[in-house]
């Protein structure tokens, strides 16, 4: 975009600034929309599960204007800062929380090449920045000057820090499989039919996916791991003293981070923007067919990606309204005693598997018994070795 602007003789610095602003605006829109839709989804799904209807009034039959209405109401609420609170930190915390989540969107590709910042180490960046979110929560909990909030913050710290480990390991599994940390590349490697997705690569990745789901739920503080704001124990945890707009920011941060972890999960395991059926490539909507076709194909891919991310969010919501909450020691136990060993074992398994059967289970069987390999495989990009990765290189030629 910057190049486009420069080409119509706009100064360099201005062009880059405008481009950055436009991209930020787009991402912010996506982040906010995902939060809004997430909130709406949460209310509707929880209502259906509980034999209710959920919002029905605001904005027609389905109450789809409920989130903006909620936001409006919350803005109108009295903004209270407790006397015992650390005023500056108390004010900063929600923005830290939201900004951290927003930063993650920077590296999140929505379609082939549609990413604000295409990083070599995208997966790494994503994990690192997503971990910043707890900073806001801890700040908020600490600065509230309330004991319940402090408990929430401490729980958050303990929980998220320990869940970063299995979460990271889950990502490492995919990195080993693909040999790259570039998220765009990881997405591209899963192009083609749904059995190209990493989740179906082999039984180990299938298990790893579910471990990833567990950890993702835990790291975005959703039930059954919503201990920082466990309402039946800690009143509202770190949110206890927050009201009005600051509370909205925390809330949007939570839903946006739900979107992020779901999106990351889709990217790593569920083929990213590649649909179960490669419609785009079957119809020739690839960059090879021309810019416009490529653009339409990417748009389709983006729809795919967003649909998957929302499916992930729906699953998290569904999970939340089904399960009781774990206790803090059990949360840590689940992480260290169950998730970490399982994912470590699976890591070893994946390594061995990709050594012996590098093509994955279904592809391997297919390539052995079916003469014609799927066309998408041919268009698959050659694997690349990143500076950070440098582990197993995947040779796509083996499949043929």
């Amino acid at each position: 975009m910057a190049e486009l602007l420069i080409s119509i003789s706009i100064p360099d610095w201005l062009a880059h600034t405008i481009a950055a602003l436009v991209q930020c605006g787009l991402l912010l829109a996506i982040a906010l929309c995902s939060a809004a839709v997430g909130i709406w989804l949460e209310r509707k799904v929880s209502a259906r599960i509980q034999d209710r209807l959920g919002p029905t009034r605001v904005g027609g039959k389905f109450g789809w204007l409920q989130p903006p209405a909620d936001g409006l109401k919350l803005i109108c609420k009295e903004d209270i800062i407790p006397a015992a609170a650390d005023h500056i930190l108390f004010r900063i915390a929600p923005y830290v929380c939201f900004c951290a989540t927003f930063c993650v969107f920077l590296a999140l590709p929505f379609a082939n090449g549609w990413v604000a910042v295409e990083l070599n180490a995208g997966a790494f960046f994503l994990l690192a920045v997503a971990g910043l979110e707890i900073f806001g929560v801890i700040l908020g909990g600490y600065a509230s000057g309330s004991k319940w909030s402090l408990y929430g913050a401490m729980r958050e710290a303990a929980q998220v820090v320990s869940y970063e480990i299995p979460l990271g390991l889950c990502v490492v599994v995919v990195v080993i499989l693909t040999g790259t940390m570039n998220l765009v590349e990881i997405g591209n490697q899963q192009a083609g039919w749904f059995f190209n997705w990493h989740i179906f690569h082999d039984p180990f990745t299938f298990v790893v996916f579910w471990v990833y789901v567990t950890c993702a739920v835990a790291s975005s503080n959703r039930a059954p791991f919503d201990l920082p704001e466990a309402e039946s124990e800690l009143v509202a945890g770190f949110l206890t003293e927050y009201s009005g707009f600051r509370w909205v920011f925390f809330f949007m941060g939570e839903y946006a981070s739900m979107f992020v972890v779901s999106g990351l999960g889709a990217l790593l395991f569920l083929g990213g923007w590649n649909g179960p059926i490669p419609i785009a490539s079957l119809l020739g909507l690839t960059p090879d067919g021309g810019d416009v076709f490529g653009w339409i194909g990417n748009l389709l891919g983006m729809c795919n990606f967003i649909a998957k991310a929302f499916a992930g969010m729906t699953f998290m919501i569904w999970l939340r309204w089904t399960l009781p909450r774990l206790r803090i020691d059990q949360v840590i136990t689940t992480c260290l005693k169950y998730c970490v060993p399982i994912v470590s074992a699976m890591l070893a398994g994946v390594m061995l598997w990709s050594f012996f059967l590098p093509g994955g289970l279904i592809l391997h069987v297919r390539s052995r018994y079916v003469a014609q390999p799927p066309s998408a495989v041919q268009s698959r990009a050659e694997s690349s070795i990143t500076a950070e990765g440098g582990c197993a290189t995947r040779n796509t030629m083996d499949i043929r």
């Binding site: 259906r48 599960i49 509980q50 034999d51 209710r52 209807l53 569904w318 089904t322 399960l323 169950y338």
Partner: protein, 175 residues
Amino acid sequence: MRNWFRNVYQAVVTVSLALWVCLRYWFRTYNPRRKTFTEHYEYPELPLEIFPRFRGFHRFNLTTCIACERCARDCPAGCISIGKRRVEGKKGFQVTSYTIDYGRCMFCAICTENCPADCIYMGSSYDLSCYSREGCVVDFARLPVEVAWGRATLNPTAVACSKVVVEPVHGGPNA
């Protein structure tokens, strides 16, 4: 170790079972015949269905009340007070006020049990509210005629009517 595997197995099985039960509910609610449970009540739009024995706000028949004060004596909360006046040349009393303090009434229907004239019974209104404790006091003698005579049930409009204080046009003879 066996325990470890059992725990994992248990967790996976029971969580999936629970998810399945919830999913079933989720989709069952889309059945147009079943609907969601709350969909059967469209409260603010449509009034709730009320059973004939419902003990709502009272209905009181001013015309038959003989001001015997049995209801006021029987009331456990002491929320009924009756004002009465002898009528010259006639038997019995005239009821000048019949107040029920709904801030105290607990809708136990004891007042209706022993009424010799059958002039008080439980009505079917349930949605009456006010902003002050004084507003909870309803004087049935001041209600609009059809309500006070027991033909209509106590309703917000009627109560509002009864609360209107009619000021004299001038400040009285000494003003």
